[in-house]
Symmetry: C2
Subunit: 402 residues, 2 copies
């Protein structure tokens, strides 16, 4: 029998408990032995819980119990999750987490400690909730060099954009709607400003390149500036606007970015609606593959955590190292040099546009007195310098190329 401790009894933690209970027999079959929750750590009281004897407020109960082989850390936040994880790994216990903040910040060190102590640090649930993504990328696409990743990594913003696209709601109304449905926090900054997606693409880019990609080095724009007019222009081009976490890996270097993008409806990512997430990966042998599913929610996220638990239990003696290491030099490429097509709205006239972009592809304007166009494919730096000369820019959005 494998004894598991769950640290943090919030949404994901209670989901993990429920899955381990509800699918117990199935999980025992998969893991090769019974998987049982021995402790639940939470600072709150759960006196009404049917298994209230499992609860503890004392981390030392878990760290000091040699019979606990695997610990689920779903507390969120950096502290004390970091200190706890470190101590548990040093004690040789496997740690499973959904804490993207912690993985994106201290992942390099924690993976190193896990390797040193011959144990596992797994984080499938930290990206894409219930969608299998970390393991497929690391293991099933192991024969490939991963060249590109483009993902809809945040369900809240995708719900808001879907409401704007399909219901014609403004950003503000769609946000209020998302908050009322429990999809967005009262303070929605982490989602709508792209910070959540940024941590997730940083984790994926680290895995794909094998070197730590610091989320702080990834230029990040959210969707707060996206207007209904942007959405309607996209629609007129048979496209949609989505918040994309993007990474290109080449020759050991990484170019990463989080920003809203224009996506042609012919691209499968364009059909990922509401709170669903999807990640498109381009491998040098397999070409494009995409994984799609629920990127958040109690049971989907807990499903990914429990899969990691089963894997850790099966491989407690032979740890499987999902790993990246610290980069010895700066591996980040400047996004300014990336060749791209941009969709631009300006109050300047078509002549002014033509002077700078002889090959501009004009789009019928939806807003009076605006000129709308697609630039030719040029470096972002070059595009920006020409836009400065045109002036009166209303908005600019990159077009995703897969």
């Amino acid at each position: 029998m494998a004894n598991v401790a769950v640290m943090g009894f919030g949404t994901v933690g209670s989901g993990v408990y429920e899955i381990l209970k509800q699918n117990a027999e199935h999980i025992a079959g998969k893991a090769g032995e019974e998987v049982k929750v021995k402790y639940i750590l939470d600072i709150r009281d759960f006196d009404d819980h049917p298994e209230k004897q499992l609860f503890t407020k004392n981390f030392a109960d878990i760290a000091g119990d040699a019979s606990v082989s695997t610990v689920v850390e779903v507390m969120g936040g950096l502290h004390p999750a970091y200190e706890y994880t470190k101590e548990l790994l040093e004690n040789g216990k496997s740690v499973i987490t959904s804490n993207k903040e912690l993985v994106a910040t201290h992942g390099t060190e924690l993976l190193e400690i896990a390797e040193k102590h011959n144990t596992n640090y797994f984080f499938e649930a930290s990206v894409g909730g219930g969608i299998p993504i970390i393991r497929p990328m690391h293991q099933c696409l192991a024969a490939n060099e991963i060249e590109k990743i483009a993902g809809i990594l945040n369900g809240t913003t995708n719900y808001i954009l879907t409401q704007m696209i399909e219901k014609g709601k403004s950003f503000g109304d769609a946000l209020t709607d998302a908050q009322n449905k429990g999809y967005a926090e009262r303070n929605p900054a982490a989602d709508v400003e792209g910070h959540d997606a940024c941590r997730k693409i940083a984790i994926l880019a680290s895995l794909a390149s094998g070197k730590f990609v610091d989320y702080k080095d990834i230029p990040t724009e959210g969707i707060t500036e996206i207007t209904l007019e942007d959405v309607r222009y996209a629609d007129s081009m048979d496209c949609v606007v989505k918040l994309i976490g993007y990474a290109e890996i080449s020759g050991g270097k990484v170019m990463a970015r989080v920003c809203p993008m224009i996506i042609p409806r012919t691209v499968p990512l364009s059909d990922v609606d509401d709170v669903f997430n999807a990640i498109m990966i381009h491998g040098n042998m397999v070409g494009d593959v995409m994984m799609y599913g629920r990127g958040a929610g109690m049971l989907p996220t807990a499903s990914a955590v429990v899969a990691d638990v089963i894997d850790a239990v099966k491989h407690s003696n032979v740890p499987k190292h999902l790993t990246w290491t610290a980069a010895e030099e700066n591996i980040m490429l400047d996004g300014d040099e990336k060749q791209t097509v941009m969709f631009i709205r300006t109050l300047a006239g078509a002549d002014a546009v033509r002077r700078e972009f002889a090959d501009a592809e004009f789009v019928d304007n939806i807003v009076d007195e605006e000129t709308a166009f697609l630039t030719p494919k040029l470096s972002e730096k070059e595009i920006r310098s020409r836009l400065d000369k045109i002036g009166d820019i209303v908005s600019g959005l990159r077009v995703l190329e897969i």
Copy 2:
């Protein structure tokens, strides 16, 4: 260093060789040691090959070489692939295959032999080509009971249907086009009659249920009867026609089927076009997840084979058993009892339809003198019995519900 033998130097075999060469350094990093091709078995001569010394026509060279730990079987067909695989597993070698025919026919016995001899029998590439599907389903969704699978599992038929839908080509013209492009064989029966998809859904249903599902027990219809009118009717309902491998697993029982289905454009599977494949899986905890990518082709399929090779090399001492066992009783449920909605075309009038299906939802007819409608949700048996009373049925297609 891990020595690998490749049996069969056709499309997939030469792809495996190429990937192991081209991504050698990357693969060594993933596997923890260099992975080297020591033998290539083929009955043909390859005297012009730069590494012609690797080729052999003698299976005993491979079976008798203790330094070969892992063998790739991409010969296709049942014999001698079955006999070779059996002997290799009995010798303790890991065998990796893309041979869906063999896995769907003798998988149960070969998995049992692998387990007994403490070695691996992996077959990621047998379903969905380069798409990670076997391992994500078995491992990443391990916390879930898999309740439903619906997949576009055959690229040839999906290409043909896409041509019919998007270009208005007839089935015959689209088939000729697919043959000219090399997507369809001169004898296209295995693809267009659904046999290929049938073996693949049998493998997925076996994995999901843990019990062997014999492909011979799966009712299978191909796309040879699909007309442009069917496709146009679907379009008028904002749907498309796709060939679907379908399985429902419940209480240890399996209902499986291969048939063309009407799929609403709101369902992500509807956007899977051309030779791409996708598999939608419904787990009781995670909900719907979908994996999308290239279901065939030299490098995508070889990419999945090589991922299995890496996994086998890493786990040569601690085999990972992907497994199902023989079913002790008949586990197949009769599809006749399944509740479904059908789209029906008949030469009978609307009154005759209304007499049998008071709740029929009529669809504007595209062909003169036809009546077209959607049945209410009823058992297939019930629907068929009522259709017999209406008579003059032109065609009937099931509507996919996800």
